[in-house]
């Protein structure tokens, strides 16, 4: 789960990482009120889950509360790389003397958290890594040893920070960020830029924060950050129904059992010359209840013109799945064509059950590729 800037900063604040004062606003009037309350010059910042908002006009300094209101008016509804701005973070403006970069990522390849720190912040970190790799200090942490103060020394001295006041503040922030990373079950915590003000104060001017979905059960406060309105409406509906679903942009609806087979089904539709409308994993079973929920989610998308139902029967036998499909279709009205491929345990019986039912919009295909071709043809 990705967090918005202000949500990440709220967590930073809880862990004692210095951030600027700010207020959330969803209307121009709220933006004005926030600026008045803060009583300083403010920056109006669009809260969207994408990078590059500065260039897209999503970060603007306001001279006074009236200006903040105007800037908010311009910004709300703005489309930034496909994300429509609905929330603004109104923050005390900061003077910037230097911009650093600090992050911790969950390095799944190395199976260790990875610190990255450089004095060349405020730009894309990939550019620093490519153009001046020596300026970027990378350091893995042993998950059992955890954070030790030497880690901060390696990062700060390694990157060439010379000011003792900065060194001290950075060491403190580095230790706190690690605690925040571990205790929030983060997959990524990034501060870019981590600024130094002209009077030598180090603070986080931005935040990028991703939390492990599997750990949300022990972070109810973070789970509450999820904004159903911000997600794709079809994905939000799927979440409500407990269906594993990702919206894609085509016309062939896809339903498979198991993550790997479902991904593979999406690929095979492309191989067959079609455009998949979604990824949807039915999970291990194939009971009518699960099928109804999944079909409801898939067919809610008006772009869907056919559905490719791809099942491999293992412990769940294909005849049971076939009965589940029939029961599901009995309980809901679907007029678009459905192409079913059943393979594995009792596949023959399953196909026979579907053939006997002779539903006009249900087509049975023996192989994955043939079924994909049929579904693509019917969606055209």
């Amino acid at each position: 789960m990705d967090l918005l800037e202000y949500q990440g900063k709220q967590l930073f604040k809880q862990f004692g990482i210095p951030v600027s004062e700010g207020r959330l606003a969803t209307t121009p009037a709220e933006a004005r009120a926030a600026a008045e309350e803060l009583g300083t010059q403010v920056v109006v910042k669009a809260q969207v889950l994408t990078g590059g908002r500065g260039k897209a006009g999503g970060v603007k300094r306001a001279e006074d509360p009236a200006d903040a209101e105007q800037k908010a008016k311009d910004m709300i509804g703005l489309d930034i790389r496909g994300h429509v701005v609905e929330k603004l973070w109104i923050e005390e403006a900061s003077d910037i003397a230097k911009e650093y970069y600090l992050s911790i990522t969950f390095d799944r390849g190395a199976k260790q958290p990875l610190f990255m720190f450089t004095m060349q912040g405020g730009v894309e970190i990939e550019d620093v890594a490519a153009n001046d790799p020596d300026a970027l200090i990378r350091l893995h942490v042993d998950a059992l040893e955890g954070y030790q103060p030497w880690i901060a020394r390696r990062l700060v001295y390694g990157a060439g920070v010379e000011d003792p006041g900065e060194q001290k503040q950075l060491a403190d922030i580095i230790g706190k960020l690690y605690r925040c990373f571990v205790e929030c079950d983060a997959m990524l915590t990034e501060i870019n830029p981590l600024i130094v003000t002209p009077d030598g104060v180090v603070k986080a001017l931005d935040s990028k924060f991703t939390v492990d979905d599997s750990a949300l059960y022990r972070h109810p406060d973070i789970a509450e950050f999820r904004d159903p309105g911000a997600a794709d409406p079809f994905e939000a509906f799927a979440r409500e129904k407990g269906v594993t679903y990702v919206k894609l942009d085509g016309s062939v609806g896809i339903l498979g059992n198991g993550a790997g087979l479902s991904m593979s089904t999406v690929d095979v539709v492309v191989v067959a010359g079609g455009k998949p409308a979604n990824f949807c994993d039915l999970g291990g079973g194939g009971n009518a209840e699960g099928v109804v929920d999944a079909l409801e989610v898939i067919t809610r998308d008006p772009q869907v013109k056919s559905v490719f139902f791809n099942i491999f029967g293992g412990i769940t036998r294909c005849d049971e799945v076939a009965r589940g499909i029939l029961e599901a279709l009995d309980r809901m009205k679907i007029e678009i064509p459905i192409v079913v491929r059943l393979d594995g345990t009792n596949a023959e019986e399953g196909r026979q059950i579907l053939a006997d039912a002779a539903l006009p919009n249900v087509h049975v295909s023996p192989t994955m590729l043939e079924a994909a071709k049929k579904a693509v043809e019917l969606a055209a």
Partner: protein, 290 residues
């Protein structure tokens, strides 16, 4: 021979008295796996269809001689269950549980790895050596014994490929589901190393998917260390970046972890990559018949 599970496997199921543990544990036993014990804290002294249940894994080891553990306990208790198995001296721990927090698995991995324990999973279907032992939830009836080793991050996709191999009259030495999480106990390389050393395995099929760089690392390993032919299939060519595709680990982060990059890395070292699950089955079967 085969790898990881075989006729010497003495299985304890942690969570045998739960519905999943009971169903699959007894299924594994019906297949011929030597199920010697179950563990459920507070239910020591009971039995499940004649299988003795103990309060702790240590007792299952001491009294029933368990050497392999299969874990079915819910995600929030699963890390504890893995630690318990490792500390009780179990040599092979197979964890089916899905949704264990990644940070927990990082610590479990860092702890258990230096102890030399074989940890498979979590979020995996288990390990099957056809004709010898089945430990987990793999539908053994769709596989046949043979010389093709199969290692995969996915369950049903593996079943599909194994089934197609069996339909063509060949079979598998061992099927290993390493799991779909970002941090799993055994990597592709760990399993490839064992297949290379296993005299029964003549060919290997590696089934990967988007996310991480384990397939790329496996490609380098195959080029440098393997004499046996390896074939591959990768799922997720059409997956959009930043979206979790069913498995917690199946996510393209930025531009890393794409299916295309994995396919390129595998093909660069001469591994044939099938476009569909059927095609990879055909490729390995054709090689085995020659």
């Amino acid at each position: 021979m085969a790898i990881i599970v075989d006729l010497d496997t003495r299985l304890v199921v942690q969570g045998l008295t739960g519905s999943e543990g009971r169903f699959h544990g007894l299924r594994n036993r019906a297949y011929g796996t030597n199920l010697v014990a179950g563990v459920t804290p507070g239910k020591g002294g009971q039995d499940v269809e004649g299988v003795p249940v103990f309060d702790t894994v240590a007792e299952a080891v001491a009294e029933a001689g368990a050497n392999t553990s299969l874990i079915f306990v819910p995600a929030r208790f699963a890390p504890d269950a893995i630690y318990e198995a490792v500390d009780a001296g179990i040599g092979t721990v197979i964890c089916i549980t899905e949704h264990i927090p990644a940070h927990e698995m990082l610590r479990v991995y860092t702890y258990s790895r230096p102890k030399g324990v074989t940890l498979i999973g979590p979020n995996c279907p288990g390990v099957l050596s056809p004709g010898k032992a089945n430990v987990g939830i793999i539908p053994a009836e769709v596989f046949a014994p043979g010389s093709i080793g199969l290692v995969s991050r996915s369950g049903t996709l593996t079943y599909q490929i194994g089934y197609e191999v069996a339909q063509r009259g060949l079979g598998n030495s061992t099927i290993v589901g390493i799991g779909g999480d970002p941090v799993v106990g055994s990597s592709f390389i760990d399993v490839l190393e064992r297949f290379e050393a296993d005299p029964e395995t003549k060919y290997v099929v590696l089934v990967g998917e988007i996310g991480g760089d384990e397939e790329e690392k496996a490609a380098r390993y195959v080029a440098e260390h393997m004499s046996k032919p390896v074939f591959s299939y990768i799922a997720g060519f059409s997956a959009p970046p930043g979206k979790t595709m069913g498995h917690a680990g199946a996510i393209i982060s930025g531009s890393s972890g794409t299916a295309a990059a994995k396919k390129d890395a595998l093909e660069a070292v001469g591994i044939k990559v099938g476009t569909t699950p059927t095609e990879v089955a055909e490729l390995v079967v054709a090689a085995a018949r020659n």
